[in-house]
């Protein structure tokens, strides 16, 4: 760039005197440095994904003294009990003193398998609907709506009812994890029970844990 012209004088008088050629290149190094600095900064600070949300709906609180507000008995139910140390217990059917608790965990072979197996009826139905949806033209709104109505009906008719209860030791993460498992297994009817676990359920857990 900035070079001294040293060769010119030694060649004798023959050469023509030329106008000095000014270089058009400018040193871009500082600019490039800055560009990369900014690039690194934005790459490191930018957050791409917006946070995701899981919607939960809490119905009106019921008055327990109202005799009309008696909790319905769930027959074909699966009750999930969440407790401390990331432990899950569940039982099928209604609660009796002789009910056997089964222990499971949050892995994919744990509670997910239980839910998927219990919900197999609905899952196969939904899969069928999804295949139908894939086959038809997206723009065919009449057919799409018809299938969606069938999906809603199938969810309504689903026999599986899952109740979720927790005790004082269960964490928020545990509850969200289970809610997420309900979504994954596409359980149509699940309820988060407001009250604490029943005394009998607490006793069953204590018995289970003392057995080791």
């Amino acid at each position: 760039m900035a070079q001294l012209d040293t060769g010119g004088g030694a060649q004798g008088g023959k050469g023509k005197k030329r106008a000095k050629k000014a270089s058009t290149a400018i040193d871009m190094t500082p600019m490039v440095d800055l560009a990369f600095l900014l690039l690194t900064f934005f790459v490191l600070t930018s957050t791409f994904s917006k946070p995701k949300v899981l919607r939960m709906i809490f119905p009106e609180k019921i008055d327990k003294n109202d005799p009309a507000m008696k909790a319905p008995e769930v027959k074909n139910g699966l009750t999930i009990l969440l407790t401390g140390d990331n432990k899950i217990y569940y039982y099928k059917g209604s609660l009796k003193p002789e009910t056997e608790l089964i222990e499971t965990d949050y892995t994919k072979d744990g509670i997910r398998k239980v839910l998927v197996e219990s919900n197999l009826d609905l899952l196969t139905q939904l899969k069928g609907f999804q295949e139908e949806l894939n086959k038809i033209d997206e723009k065919d709104t009449a057919k799409t709506n018809a299938i969606n109505a069938q999906v809603t009906q199938a969810q309504k008719d689903s026999k599986l009812v899952v109740l979720l209860k927790h005790d004082k030791k269960a964490t928020y993460g545990n509850v969200i994890d289970i809610m997420d498992e309900f979504l994954i297994a596409q359980v149509a009817k699940y309820f988060k029970v407001d009250d604490d676990m029943a005394e009998l359920e607490k006793k069953l857990i204590a018995d289970y844990q003392s057995r080791g």
Partner: protein
């Protein structure tokens, strides 16, 4: 013997394409990035597979690992109104700039009485202050009267009311000007709780909101891949 001359090759290479690319990336990141709002509390939310994105207008309830409750409202107009109402309920008042400072201060986790003190702080002093606050007070009993007297209930109550007023005002404004109005712009309540917070605590906070007729919550989670079943 003459010396073998090494072919003179220029040590500089053409960096133009690389620079082009660098600037392209800089521009991309500058335009797409949105900065994380400063958070007074570190909350590590659990992960879920839902893909629903957080609504634009939220009343955010953050519960940190020690159980302190912080709230924030994304719509500044609503937040200003709510803060004014809250201060008035304790016979306090903040004027113009102080109120604006409080609105711009991000999530709040202190009792209403401490609002003027917090508004007067410099932004550098806020972090230390937030470390010392005990979160928004709320009643942990199931006594309805006590819950309704708690400050968290006041927050929920006024926020719901002001959000509704703000929504109808914007809707009318849009109608007057014959513009399309996005109905999804209604404020929703979102909870961001730490993974390790006991659920009973979250439930108690939710119960306060249920008393204020808030029934739907968006639980903020990190994204997790949907597994095959």
């Amino acid at each position: 013997m003459p010396k073998v001359k090494m072919p003179k090759s220029s040590p500089s290479l053409d960096m133009t394409p690389m620079v082009d690319l660098a600037f392209l990336l800089v521009t991309f990141f500058m335009l797409t990035s949105s900065f994380k709002a400063p958070e007074p509390v570190m909350v590590d939310p659990p992960a879920s597979t839902t893909e629903a994105e957080i609504p634009k207008q939220v009343f955010l309830v953050a519960i940190d690992p020690s159980g302190r409750v912080f709230v924030d409202i994304t719509n500044n107009a609503v937040k200003t109104q709510v803060l004014t109402k809250l201060l008035a309920s304790k016979k306090l008042g903040l004027e113009g700039q102080d109120l604006n400072k409080l609105v711009g201060a991000g999530p709040l986790g202190m009792s209403i009485k401490q609002f003027p003190e917090y508004a007067a702080l410099e932004s550098s002093e806020r972090e230390a202050f937030n470390q010392s606050v005990r979160g928004i007070p709320y009643d942990t009993t199931s006594d309805v009267a006590k819950i309704k007297a708690s400050e968290l209930y006041l927050w929920a109550y006024h926020a719901r009311l002001e959000a509704h007023n703000d929504f109808t005002a914007r809707e009318e404004e849009a109608k007057k000007r014959n513009l399309d109005f996005d109905k999804s712009q209604y404020m929703q309540f979102a909870i961001k709780a730490d993974f390790d917070v006991p659920y009973t605590l979250v439930e108690k906070v939710i119960n306060v909101f249920r008393q204020a007729q808030v029934k739907q919550f968006q639980m903020i989670t990190d994204l997790e891949d949907t597994p095959e079943i």
